[in-house]
């Protein structure tokens, strides 16, 4: 099928515009396939990120038809139905590097504050005993969050408060507190986010949970952190 891509183009200091690329893709093509074809055959100056191509690295995150998604696992036919154009824009709420590439440094800055490990232990109820290799007492898995920044882009609070800790980093703190089980570390992490620009800056739009491609539920985690903070306050902590 012939797909008209309307892609955001800009370099810092230059005015933005949108270029039209018409590409021929198979029926089962993903949006990233279409972008790559546009880059390969039509305009080699097009900037975009891509890596794993299967939704586990978060590098390629963009806005497709105005909605944050991973183009590597978004089928063209799911977001474009033969009429109009397939609009692709960079993530919001991040400084623009160029075209579809944004500077995600602010996100990683805050993620590092959560002291987040990239793996965590699988609890006893999370994997049936029969699936555990013999002799292996403990399973670990990677953290659910792939640090794609999609939740940050969708957050309306981030649109007006660039100092907000952000849904991804707050969710990371929540995850680190639960997975670690160390009360002192938990208190320390809670203290980091129990601030004006931390958990209390969220206004509950729940869009972060809505768009998260991994089901990490940042909004629930933020509210749970609030519950923890209030509990700590009640106990005189």
């Amino acid at each position: 099928m012939r797909v008209p891509l309307r892609v955001f183009r800009a370099r810092p200091g230059q005015s933005a515009h949108r270029d039209l690329f018409v590409v021929e893709v198979p029926e089962a093509a993903y949006v990233l396939d279409a972008v790559e074809l546009a880059w390969a055959h039509l305009d080699r100056s097009l900037m975009f990120r891509h890596a794993c191509h299967h939704g586990s690295c978060g590098s390629c995150a963009v806005r497709i038809q105005g909605r944050e998604k991973l183009p590597c696992i978004t089928l063209v036919k799911d977001v474009w139905h033969g009429k109009g154009e397939l609009r692709i824009d960079p993530l919001s709420n991040f400084p623009l590097v160029g075209d579809l590439v944004v500077d995600v440094g602010g996100l990683f800055d805050r993620l590092s504050a959560s002291e987040m490990a990239i793996t965590h232990a699988v609890g006893p109820g999370m994997a049936p005993a029969g699936e555990r290799p013999e002799g292996m007492e403990q399973l670990t898995r990677f953290q659910t969050c792939i640090e794609c920044g999609i939740c940050v882009s969708a957050c309306p609070t981030m649109a007006t408060n660039p100092h907000f800790f952000g849904p991804a980093a707050l969710a990371a703190v929540h995850s680190a507190r639960i997975d670690d089980g160390d009360p002192e570390r938990g208190r320390r992490l809670l203290h980091v986010v129990d601030t004006e620009h931390g958990i209390w800056r969220c206004h509950g739009a729940w869009e972060c949970s809505e768009v998260c491609p991994q089901g990490n539920e940042p909004a629930w985690r933020i509210m749970d952190l609030r519950r923890a903070a209030l509990g700590s306050m009640a106990r005189g902590g």
Binding site: G105, G106, P162, A205, E207, W220, R226
Partner: protein
């Protein structure tokens, strides 16, 4: 620890754009719009009340306007704003305390159904339909 800011651009219009977004975002936008409407109403209300200081003729003139069917529609809209903002506010309070997080969408729909019922009952009473 100092953190670099995300994007320096402030985009207030994103507070009011729920298109393509989930139910939580619609609730968020609705709360902001009704909240601003109620603040605006407050100022208008005070301005109207100040007519009392201009004597009976000014006040009576306003009252005859306020009884018109077109103006009564504004009262229905006001009640709708109060119910939507108030009930959704209760939802926001509960969620902020960590209560009902798994059913936030259902909570919103249920409370808006109650708000709609309230608006219908109010309109019925205001217009004397029943």
């Amino acid at each position: 620890m100092a953190h670099s800011a995300y994007s320096p651009r402030r985009q207030v219009w994103k507070w009011f754009n729920p298109l393509g977004r989930g139910l939580g975002m619609w609730a968020y936008v609705l709360n902001r719009v009704t909240g601003l409407a109620l603040v605006l109403y407050l100022y208008l209300h005070l301005a109207v009340l100040s007519l009392l200081s201009h004597g009976p003729s000014s006040w009576d003139g306003f009252i005859s306007l306020a009884r018109s069917r077109a103006f009564l529609a504004l009262d229905v809209i006001l009640i709708a704003a109060v119910l939507i903002h108030g009930l959704n506010g209760k939802r926001v309070t509960l969620l902020g305390l960590g209560i009902g997080m798994r059913v936030q969408k259902q909570l919103f729909l249920a409370l808006m159904a109650i708000a709609l019922l309230g608006v219908v009952v109010t309109a019925t009473k205001i217009y004397g339909w029943w």
